[in-house]
């Protein structure tokens, strides 16, 4: 197998883990409030900038900037749900316009976050967060890997395992799953549905923020970084948008596909790939490549 092909695959796996992390954030929000969080990309961006702020201004050691960014974005996400979304739901007219308004709300949040970051003159130039781990690149055969790449994959694995444990074995996690399956029944059993929604948003936001700190060394910090959300959306859709392992598989598939398209078809076609994937999967096989038969979820 040619070294170019191998490098394409390995590189694709690494960037795929990145997309997968953000996709996880989107799916958690979706399972909790049925809403696509169009501000997911901006949460990633804000996490990256917060990480840089913590590192350079607050002089925190690198390992602490992860929880710092996570906590701050958690609060942003939870507050957004509590203050904006609940208001939107309360003032809604019966019919599907609720979701429309909520989605527009997330678009609004994305503009607010972007604007808030842009106001700071520091962000006028492209910046880079130093990587978590640096050092000479590692060679596995003909394939080159950076330390940061390995850090990303390891972090992604740790996060996925933690989420699996959280959702499967903790009370809060199980409560969240209950709410997403059937909010009425969950409320009847005594689960505080609104608070669960807030927590879900907070977790998803924190996830996005941590992804931002992981990604920023690789991608560069600009206020427009959030555009990566479209790739995360494509990854989530491939995975069926309901399962967490689906996200991961979707992300990796997408990362590899992008690289292979870039190498064997045309560099210009790379930017088209995620949109084709989204359209193809949704129009032909809406349940994603991994779920079973297409089922209606709610009446």
């Amino acid at each position: 197998m040619s070294p170019v092909f191998l490098q394409g695959i390995v590189g694709g796996v690494v960037t795929g883990c990145v997309y997968a992390l953000i996709a996880l954030s989107l799916v958690i929000v979706y399972k909790s409030s049925d809403v696509i969080n169009f501000a997911g990309g901006e949460m990633v961006m804000a996490g990256g900038y917060l990480g840089m702020f913590a590192l350079l201004w607050l002089q925190l050691p690198y390992t602490l900037i992860f929880p710092f960014a996570a906590v701050v974005i958690f609060i942003v996400g939870a507050l957004f749900d509590r203050i904006v979304l609940t208001r939107v739901v309360d003032h809604s007219v019966p019919g599907q316009s609720v979701l429309v308004a909520m989605i527009i709300g997330t678009v609004g949040l994305s503009y607010v976050l972007k604007g808030a970051v842009r106001i700071i003159p520091y962000t006028e130039e492209v910046r880079r967060l130093p990587p978590f781990s640096s050092g000479a690149p590692i060679f596995i055969g003909p394939v080159v890997l950076q330390h940061q790449d390995i850090a990303i994959v390891v972090a992604a694995l740790i996060i996925m395992c933690s989420l699996w444990i959280f959702f499967g074995f903790t009370i809060v996690g199980k409560a969240l799953r209950a709410v997403s399956q059937n909010p009425r029944a969950a409320a009847l059993v005594g689960i505080p549905v609104r608070r669960m929604s807030m927590i879900a948003w907070g977790i998803a936001a924190a996830l996005a923020g941590v992804a931002g700190v992981l990604l920023a060394p690789k991608l560069l910090l600009t206020p427009d970084m959030g555009a990566i959300v479209i790739l995360a959306l494509a990854a989530a859709i491939i995975g069926g948008f309901v399962s967490l392992p689906g996200c991961i598989a979707g992300g990796i598939l997408l990362g590899i596909a992008q690289n292979l398209i870039g190498i064997y078809v045309h560099s210009r076609a790379i930017s088209l790939a995620p949109f084709l994937v989204i359209m193809f999967v949704l129009l032909v096989r809406p349940q994603g490549l991994f779920a079973g038969k297409f089922q209606a979820r709610r009446v």
């Binding site: 809403v35 019919g95 316009s97 308004a101 989204i278």
Partner: protein, 273 residues
Amino acid sequence: MHSAPSWPQLAWLLALLAVGFLLPHALPQYFLYLGNFLMMFAVLGMGLDLLLGWAGQFAFAHVAFFGVGVYGTALLQIRLGVPFVIGMPLAALLAGAIGLAIGFPATRLRVVYLALATFAFAEAAQWVFNSWDKVTNGPNGLRIAAPSIFGYRVGTDQTAFPIMATILAAMIASTLFLTTSKFGRAMCAIRDSEHVASASGIDVRGTKAWTFAISAVYAGVAGGMYTLFQSFVNPEVFGFNQIVLLLSMLVVGGLGTVPGVLIGVVLLGLFRR
């Protein structure tokens, strides 16, 4: 069965036509330009409102059809010499056909998936506008030659203004016609509850798909209007920002009513100045 436009509505339409023909003699070109812009956006907004406000389908593909209208009308004229009065309807019908083709599979999807699929379609369309150099001249943009309508050259804001007003009046009339027709009531029924609509015998999938097609035709018409008063187009015009702007106009003005759309267009269109 449909009800004819009421007398107040007819009066408004006539007033619009009068303004369209009289105003160009009174105002500097800049204000006519703003007016043309708003009129085009009004048609674009009404089309999206049919889909979003009346049928309740959350779709992002509108700007793609707008692009088909602009490039279609302009290219038909530049490459094939097709005059505007034929070119614009053709481009609008092409947009409608694509809308129908997208509409049938897309309407199987639930709200958020529909939003995503149509958003992806809009981005893919923009990629095509940007990359299909031979046809659209890609990122360098396309120069639009001034169209002529029955021998009357339309290229400046002054000359375009009355034509734009006429087209707008026609589109408003057709919206009124449509929304008070049986088809319009079917759209409303679907928006309120698909299951009840289906149970009452409405062909839900067909209605949804045709709504897609009709709203795409509106977008195509708006695209043709663009070529009347603008001399240049590049793919940037059809990006995500435009979608967000349109949506904001509808949300601010009020979904589901013609005056609502018009108010939203005027408010947000002028606010940017």
